[in-house]
Structure formats: structure tokens, C-alpha cells
């Protein structure tokens, strides 16, 4: 039995946070209108939501990628507003979870949030002074809900323009019931020195989480946005369907880092896309450790001359997990360049899939694409697949390289012969394998990631 329940939900446990406002389970126009009412949204957003709902209802479930047949919208609660009151004291947090926080070195302020002691992460405390400085430079960094209230015109101009509701069933779902996420605007020429971070968390059984994030980086600006996720465990499956839209204007550079560690009852279906104008740079660092199932392929529309898109991607799939990740590049202009490096690890019966799409348009003269994906499989129960799609017009050059290796019984034996035991040795091999990508992640997250992987390997070794 142990094989199928792994001891990795460091942050997962049921939480008694009260919900003043929540919709009933299931999805129809009444539920969507309720959400819009509670948020006191402008009329155009309400209409968008309802239109998105009808798209969601018409579209069929995707038949490729992970098996989604278990999703049951009638059992999902699509909106719940957390109360502001703290629901639990630190003393009530289980010892095991406290220990894990310690072992991976989570700061105390974050522990309280992650452990549900505080209903909201007190970003004001951590980022208070940063926020003042940002505001003085004209930077907008708001939750999407308050962003819509404060900057309706900005939202209206960009919302749904990159990921329209017709894009896919779950983009439509997000369009209908979105809640939370971030609105970020960086004015011309402003370079934000410190990463902007956002924590997301699911708080209610059978509740979906549907963040909507919009980032607009105006000409010549720079921003690094970091998104990290942890979630509680529930016996019923939780659905997470986020949409992220990023506009990289001329000469701007945006880095978007994700550390995804949803508990492994979560189905995580994310549509992320960037449009990159002339000489703009979009960089995705995408770390996927958690969730039961994930489908996520950050897209780069390279629309202007010399636009660049880079993706660094890690997926680590253990027992009961299927992580289907990758990336897309659409070259629409001359001299655009794209690179993708993916490293995936599967163990304990886990499965990883890699999908890469390269589309070289008729104007993509002298464009360049390099895709490299390496998969490491730790045992015979586990699996990895690669599905490349190349639409090459011959205007540019495309290199695609894929390797799959089984973990070295030989590598393990080598480390063991030096006195380094089985689970630590596995952790070293896995951490070493993903190291080229981890070194691109800010150091505090990289340390956490490597510790999480060591904990994972300890769990796997117990089996």
C-alpha cells in the first residue's frame, strides 16, 4: 500500500478555515453570476464570465495528455472566500509538518501561512518597503481582484487577449470562475531589482483554484515574478486551472519562475502564454514537483524581430503522479530565437511526459530553436515519454535532442562504494541531474527544492 501514498505532503493537512462566502458545488450561470456579484465586478467582466461558461460547456475534455476523466464539475466548489480570522494556533500544527518546515528551511513568517495559522500570507510585512518603492516608480503589483477594481482599463485592454476563452476547455473554465492571481504592470524602462513573489493556496475540500495572472512589461522594463504553491491533502480530487498572460513589450525582459508543489490529489491544468515584441526576452523557469496530474506548456509567441523565448523546465514525478509538461514556441518574425531545456525524473511508478511545439512561420527568417529534453527514470515501475511537434518552414534552424536514461544502478553502486547510502545517493543523482536548471532559480528556492527532493528520495527508499 505504501507505494501509492508517499509521505511528501509537507504542507498538506485539512484545515478548518471558515468560509463566509462560497458557492454551492457545481457550475452554472447562477454560480458564475454569484461570483461576479460578490466581487462587485464591472458589467463587461460579468459578460465575459458568462460567455466563457458557455464555451466551457461546449468544449469537450481534451483527449490527449493526462487522463482527465475523474474531473467532476458537479462536485467542485468553484468559489470560496477565506475569512480574515486566523483559524488555528501554531501549537495545533502537527509536529511532523513543523519538522518538515525546519528541514527544508522555510522562514517562520512563511511557515505560519503555509501551516494555515494565518489565512493570508502577510506579504505586507515582507514586501512592505519594497512595495512602497515600487509604487513610487509606477509599478502595479496587486491581486487580480483588487487590480480589476483599481485599474479596470488596464485589465480590460489585456485580459483574455493572449489566452482567449476559446483556447481550451480549461482556459474557458478559468475565464468563467477565475479568482485571485496577480496583476503586474511595469512602466517603460523600469527595472525591478527584487523578484515579485506570490503564494497560492487551496483552502477548501473539493474547491477548485482558478487564478488569473496578467503581467504587462512595458518597453525596456524588467521584472522577475515568482510563483510558489503548496496545498493541503484531501481525499477528493482538487482541480486547479490557472491562466497566465504575459506581454513583453519592445526590449523588455520578463522572467517567470514557478515552483509547483501541490499535494498529490490536485489536478493542475495551466495555460501560460507570453507575447514577445521586438528584442524582448521571455524566460520561464518551471519547476514541477507536486500534483497528481499536471498539464502545462508555457507558450512563447515571438512576435517581433529578435524576440527571444527561453524555457527551463523540471518535472519530478513519484508514485501516482503524471506530469505532462513542456513548452511552445511560435516564431512570427525574423531572427527570433528560442531555447528549451527540460529535465524530468520519474520514480516509484511516476510518469513524466514532455511535449515540445516549434512552429516556424513564413516570416521567421533566420530564426533559431534549440530544444533539449532529458529524462531520468529511477526504476522499472516508472515511465517517461517525449512528444515533439515540429512545424518547420525552413526559414530558420531547429535543433531537437532528447535523451532518456535509466538511473544508474552503476551510479548508485559507485556512491554506495564510497559509503554514501541508498536514499542519499539517489537524492544526489537526481539533484545532480536537474542542477543545470536549479542553478537558475533564486538560491533560497533552489535550496528548498534540493531538500524537497532529498525528502522525496527518503520516502521512495522506505518503500
Amino acid at each position: 500500500m505504501k507505494k501509492f501514498s508517499r509521505p511528501r505532503y509537507q504542507f498538506g493537512f485539512h484545515d478548518r478555515t471558515g468560509y463566509k462566502n462560497r458557492t454551492r458545488a457545481g457550475l452554472d450561470s447562477q454560480v458564475v453570476e454569484q461570483i461576479s456579484d460578490r466581487k462587485k465586478e464591472p458589467e463587461w467582466m460579468r459578460k465575459k464570465r458568462l460567455a466563457a461558461l458557455s464555451v466551457f460547456e461546449k468544449k469537450e475534455m481534451p483527449k490527449w495528455g493526462v487522463d482527465l476523466s475523474e474531473i467532476d464539475p458537479t462536485r467542485t466548489i468553484f468559489y470560496a472566500k477565506p475569512t480574515d480570522k486566523d483559524s488555528r494556533s501554531w501549537d495545533e500544527v502537527p509536529e511532523g509538518i513543523k519538522k518538515t518546515f525546519e528541514r527544508i528551511g522555510v522562514p517562520q513568517a512563511e511557515r505560519e501561512y503555509l501551516a494555515g495559522v494565518k489565512a493570508q500570507y502577510e506579504s505586507e510585512v515582507i514586501y512592505g518597503s519594497l512595495k512602497n518603492e515600487l509604487e513610487s516608480r509606477g509599478v502595479i503589483f496587486e491581486s487580480m481582484d483588487s487590480g480589476l477594481a483599481k485599474y479596470p482599463e488596464l485589465v480590460r485592454e489585456y485580459f483574455g487577449k493572449l489566452v482567449p476563452m476559446e483556447d481550451n476547455k480549461f482556459a474557458a473554465l478559468n475565464g468563467a470562475v477565475w479568482s485571485g492571481g496577480s496583476l503586474v504592470y511595469i512602466p517603460k524602462g523600469v527595472k525591478v531589482g527584487m523578484p515579485l513573489s506570490a503564494y497560492f493556496r487551496m483552502n477548501l475540500a473539493r474547491m477548485g483554484q482558478f487564478e488569473r495572472t496578467l503581467i504587462v512589461a512595458d518597453e525596456g522594463s524588467f521584472v522577475h515574478y515568482i510563483e510558489g504553491c503548496t496545498a493541503p491533502i484531501y481525499t477528493t480530487d482538487s482541480l486547479h486551472a490557472a491562466v497566465v498572460e504575459i506581454f513583453v513589450k519592445k526590449g523588455a525582459r520578463v522572467r517567470y519562475t514557478t515552483l509547483q508543489n501541490w499535494s498529490t490529489n490536485v489536478i493542475n491544468l495551466v495555460t501560460k502564454r507570453a507575447r514577445v515584441e521586438e528584442e524582448g526576452v521571455m524566460e520561464w523557469v518551471d519547476g514541477n514537483l507536486g500534483s497528481k496530474k499536471t498539464m502545462k506548456y508555457p507558450g512563447n509567441i515571438l512576435a517581433g524581430r529578435k524576440a527571444r523565448g527561453d524555457i527551463l523546465s523540471i518535472a519530478v514525478a513519484g508514485a501516482g503522479q503524471h506530469l505532462d509538461t513542456g513548452g511552445k514556441f511560435i516564431h512570427l518574425a525574423p531572427e527570433t530565437s528560442a531555447s528549451m531545456i527540460s529535465r524530468s525524473v520519474s520514480f516509484g511508478g511516476g510518469r513524466t511526459s514532455f511535449r515540445g511545439l516549434v512552429d516556424e512561420g513564413p516570416k521567421a527568417f533566420n530564426s533559431k530553436t534549440k530544444v533539449r529534453c532529458d529524462a531520468l527514470i529511477l526504476d522499472r515501475m516508472s515511465r517517461s515519454d517525449t512528444y515533439p511537434v515540429l512545424r518547420v518552414s525552413g526559414r530558420g534552424t531547429v535543433e531537437h535532442e532528447a535523451t532518456v536514461s535509466r538511473i544508474g544502478e552503476e551510479q548508485l553502486f559507485y556512491l554506495q562504494s564510497r559509503g554514501i547510502g541508498g536514499t542519499e545517493a539517489q537524492g544526489m543523482i537526481v539533484n545532480g541531474f536537474i542542477e543545470p536548471i536549479v542553478k537558475e532559480i533564486p538560491v533560497e528556492y533552489a535550496v528548498e527544492l534540493s531538500r524537497l527532493i532529498n525528502l522525496e528520495m527518503e520516502g521512495a527508499g522506505d518503500e
Binding site: 556512491l415 562504494s417 564510497r418 559509503g419 544526489m428 543523482i429 541531474f433
Partner: protein, 250 residues
Amino acid sequence: MNSLEIKNLRVNAGTKEILAGVNLTINSGRVQVLMGPNGGGKSTLAMAVTGAPGYRIMGGEIILKEGKKSINILKLPTEKRAKAGIFMSFQNPVAIPGVSVFELLRLALRSKHGRTLANFVEFFEQIKNSAESLGLREEFLKRSINEGFSGGERKKAETLQLLTIKPKIAILDELDTGLDLEALKMVAKGVNLAAREGAGILMITHNPRVLEYIKPEKIFVLAGGVITRSGGEELVGEIEEKGYEKVFQT
């Protein structure tokens, strides 16, 4: 005084019998040489002592003696054998991307001593000096172990591990193969130093030239899964005179 006594060791690889009753003792502070034709079982002996997967022990014992204490290491998993003081150098050591030479040495020593090293600076200096004695620069320590290493660098990295870990017993599987003369001298110097520091060493080799730099106390010939010959310098003389092949055949 430590020793490793291999008694009547029989080992199968798959269903095939490779070692058919090997007897051999390795004593601390001494260098002994093991030779023999390809397929004679030399590497299998090293693998069996270290506890490699895929080698089935069909009989016999391997006893590690430290003073009055003695343990049959056949019951221990590989990492515990290493902790007990057994080391082997690999003929073709595998690359582990992202795990640096330094990190490997640090963790190997932490495992040996059961704790993190107290004096990091001193430890680093020691490793740096050992590396220099093998003609390796400090930058070498930052490279991923065996990844993109030349043949010579692999052997030197194995020797560096021998010098850093300071095992009680070391089986060196063709540590001298594929080295140019200068590298051979440096590696041989390292092996002699390890023996002077107390390691009991069994050197598996094909290379008579190494005997110019390492003076073994005894030479064994392993052929057809058993020790067919053993002797002192007279056997070296005989090998030099008749060549390996003839000595193996007798």
C-alpha cells in the same frame, strides 16, 4: 594491524561460475599485486568484495579483522562495507553529472566519520594538496565526477579518493591502465603513500611497467577462478623474463 581474509570465495555472475574458491589475505600497510588473463575473475573479486549487485556469493567468507575484532563483511550492504574501511577503485568509473569531485569526497568522509567535518578549511587544503600531488588543479575539484574526464583524469580522481578516504583495505582495479608515464608515476606515488599510511592494498594490473614504481610484497595470479600462482619478487623476475602469458599458463 588490519587484514582482509578472503576464504574459499565462490562467486557467480548470473548463472556462470566466475570465482571457484579464492583464498587470499590483504594486510595493512602492504601492497600486493593480482594478475591474470582476461576473464580470469580479477574484477569479479573486486566487485564481490565491494558487494556489487549482480554478483552472487555461492560460498566462502570475507573477514575484515581489526585487532581482535573481526566481521564477515559479506553480510553488509555496500555502503556499510565502505564505512567499515573497504575501498575499490573502478576500472571504468561512471560519470555522475552535477555531483562534483569535492562534494563526493566531502560526503564520503562525512559518511566515514559519521559527522560533518569540523575543520572545513583544513579539509579543503588537504584535498587540494592531494590533488596537486596528482597533477590536478583546484578547478578539477569543482567538475562533475568523471563527466568528460580523460582516461588519465578518471584514474587520478580514483587515486584522489583513495588518498582522501584513507580506507583500511583497498582493491585497485587497473588503476594503472591507460596512463602515460608521468601520470603512472604520480598514481604509483599515491598508491605507495596510501600503503605507508596503513592501507592494505591489492592492485589488479596487466601492466608490468607499474612494478618499476610499486614494489609489491607478493604477486598472485588468478586464472580460471582460482589463484594459480603466488610468489614474491622471484615471480616478478619470472614474469619479466617469460612474459605474462607464459606465467599464467603454468
